[in-house]
């Protein structure tokens, strides 16, 4: 049997879900913790697998690997915490800004400063994205899903995922760039 496409509807639930959990829970926690923090992620991981268990008959192995379906459930559950998520990005942006302000502009640390600045700007940019844009970007970047898996997770065509991903990356790169140029003019 293809381990990436388990027959959840027919398999013995305990054995199938023990495998599913052991394969995906750690990475899923990482993805969720990045979005809503480790505490809420603890709860959401548990909730994701319980929902998956109850809805196991709705997963069709013929359609897509199980990972996308699982992350779709998790992403949906995380939507209830979108305010927490956005507050988190804004807080991160402030923290990175403080670090920048408190650091000497020494030539040796310019690279690190650039990286910090980009991270701050990214955090700021993520807070400004709409949900669909954030989902596509973070499912791809943090969860490491392929477009076809993101498509399964979000219930949209893979072509939509690709175009949305391209658009959001352009938007964020632009968000990182001008400020970068401004800073170089300093």
């Amino acid at each position: 049997m293809d381990e990436t496409r388990p027959d959840l509807a027919n398999a013995e639930p305990a054995a199938a879900f023990a495998r599913l959990f052991d394969t995906h829970a750690r990475a899923l926690h990482g993805y969720l913790a990045g979005r809503v923090g480790v505490d809420i992620a603890d709860d959401l991981v548990a909730e994701t697998f319980l929902v998956a268990l109850r809805r196991r008959a709705t997963y069709d192995p013929a359609q897509a690997p199980v990972r996308g379906w699982l992350y779709g459930i998790a992403t949906n559950l995380a939507r209830n915490h979108v305010r927490t998520e956005i507050r988190g990005y804004r807080a991160s942006a402030r923290v990175y800004a403080l670090r920048e302000a408190g650091t000497e502009h020494d030539a040796q640390i310019v690279d690190r400063l650039d990286a910090q600045r980009h991270t701050r700007l990214l955090a700021d940019g993520l807070a400004a994205l709409n949900e669909q844009e954030r989902d596509v970007l973070l499912l791809t970047s943090w969860a490491g899903l392929e477009p076809v898996e993101v498509a399964a997770a979000l219930g949209v065509p893979a072509s939509t995922v690709r175009s949305r991903l391209h658009r959001v990356r352009q938007k964020l790169k632009a968000h990182l760039r001008p400020t970068d140029e401004e800073n170089r003019d300093d």
Partner: protein, 381 residues
């Protein structure tokens, strides 16, 4: 510039909230919650894979199922059904467990009822003369339904509908089990028990192929293409008499065996109770095992007397139930006659589908065994 921009963006993505994303927080609690519920989830058809009995409560039409994960209809199923099969006796048949009971069973304890029933089991298994067959009739109502929507909607705002479909299974087993068995399935009516839309908008019930037809095979091998292959006399196959031959006849030893048998599923009381019901209602458990097995069931934590209950073939008995969050599983016994007559499943507050009201009977089965004079011939009552 673009490449550099991509690189910068990817680096920033990689570093943002990195500490949280690589935290090694314990996932034990989440796993324990999952396994507790998974171990009491309805067992699938494929486990034990060789049992035709387990096919009954199963997701049907899975191949056709989530063809529509995105924007379509998804078939789902599970054990369950509503008793509504018998015309006369059934006119007063409950579709929920909320109706008044006919006598006060509240003072009875589960262990008392099970032990009383065990006491009354005096029957010995009938000797089959040459050419005769053991005949097992299982009448059941099973949950069949559909869920509609995208994969997101299925989680966030599920919509769909659920039918209870009646199916009767008739099985003829020869004295020499290595000879040919026969199983006949007869589909009956289906009744809508819940939907997220008005009943008038729900599509008519479409019977499934596996609910009808005759299948033959030595040792009950009705599905010869199934894997793993059925082996005659397999003592791990609950659908063959050999499974029951070597089980202990002492209740405590049986309880320990049941705990061990379900250990891969966590040996939760609900899991042990579920499998115990499967064995007791298989129709092939020998008479001398039924008594001690009922006494073992009485020792499972949390089993209680629920109500008087009827089975789909119109018999009445006492339901002994065990609760999980989503459903209550009942074993129905007739303590007067010393018989195990069936089982039922009743939805609770956290039912799997929001359109199923608490108290709805989502599955029910009755079992009778007789001696048939020939294969395919239904014995007179």
């Amino acid at each position: 510039m673009t490449e550099r921009g991509d690189h910068e963006l990817d680096e920033a993505l990689a570093s943002l909230h990195l500490e949280a994303r690589v935290s090694d927080r314990s996932l034990d609690d989440a796993r324990a919650k999952l396994m507790a519920e998974a171990s009491s989830a309805s067992a699938p058809a494929s486990f034990p894979s060789k049992s035709p009995f387990r096919r009954r409560g199963l997701v049907v039409g899975v191949a056709a199922a989530a063809a529509a994960l995105v924007g379509g209809a998804v078939a789902f199923g599970g054990s369950g059904g509503a008793p509504e099969r018998q015309p006369a006796a059934q006119s007063a048949q409950p579709t929920t467990s909320q109706q008044p009971t006919k006598r006060d069973v509240s003072l009875l304890s589960a262990s008392q009822v099970l032990n009383d029933t065990a006491d009354k089991i005096t029957a010995t298994d009938p000797e089959l003369r040459p050419g005769q067959y053991r005949y097992i009739e299982v009448r059941g109502s099973y949950l069949r339904g559909f869920q509609v929507g995208t994969s997101q909607e299925v989680v966030s705002a599920p919509t769909g509908y659920t039918y209870l479909a009646d199916v009767t299974y008739q099985t003829w087993i020869p004295g020499d089990v290595t000879r040919e068995w026969l199983e006949r399935r007869v589909a009956g009516d289906a009744k809508l028990i819940g939907s997220s839309t008005p009943a008038s908008e729900v599509p008519a019930y479409q019977p499934v192929d596996t609910d009808t037809g005759e299948r033959r095979g030595a040792c009950g091998d009705f599905f010869p293409k199934a894997q793993p292959k059925k082996v005659c006399g397999d003592k791990t196959d609950m659908a063959q008499p050999a499974f029951y031959e070597d089980l202990p006849r002492d209740p405590d030893q049986l309880l320990a065996w049941l705990r061990d048998y379900t250990s891969q599923r966590g040996s939760a009381p609900t899991t042990m109770f579920h499998f115990g019901i499967q064995f007791l209602t298989s129709g092939i458990m020998p008479a001398d095992l039924r008594g001690p097995f009922l006494r073992a069931m009485a020792k499972i934590d949390g089993v209680k007397v629920v109500e008087e209950a009827s089975t789909p073939d119109g018999r009445t008995g006492i339901a002994l139930g065990l609760d999980s969050d989503s459903e209550r599983r009942d074993l129905i016994v007739d303590p007067e006659k010393g018989e195990v007559i069936g089982e039922q499943t009743v939805a609770k507050e956290q039912a799997d589908y929001p359109w199923i009201k608490p108290g709805t009977v989502t599955g029910s089965v009755s079992v009778t065994t007789k001696v048939a004079d020939a294969i395919g011939v239904v014995p007179a009552s």
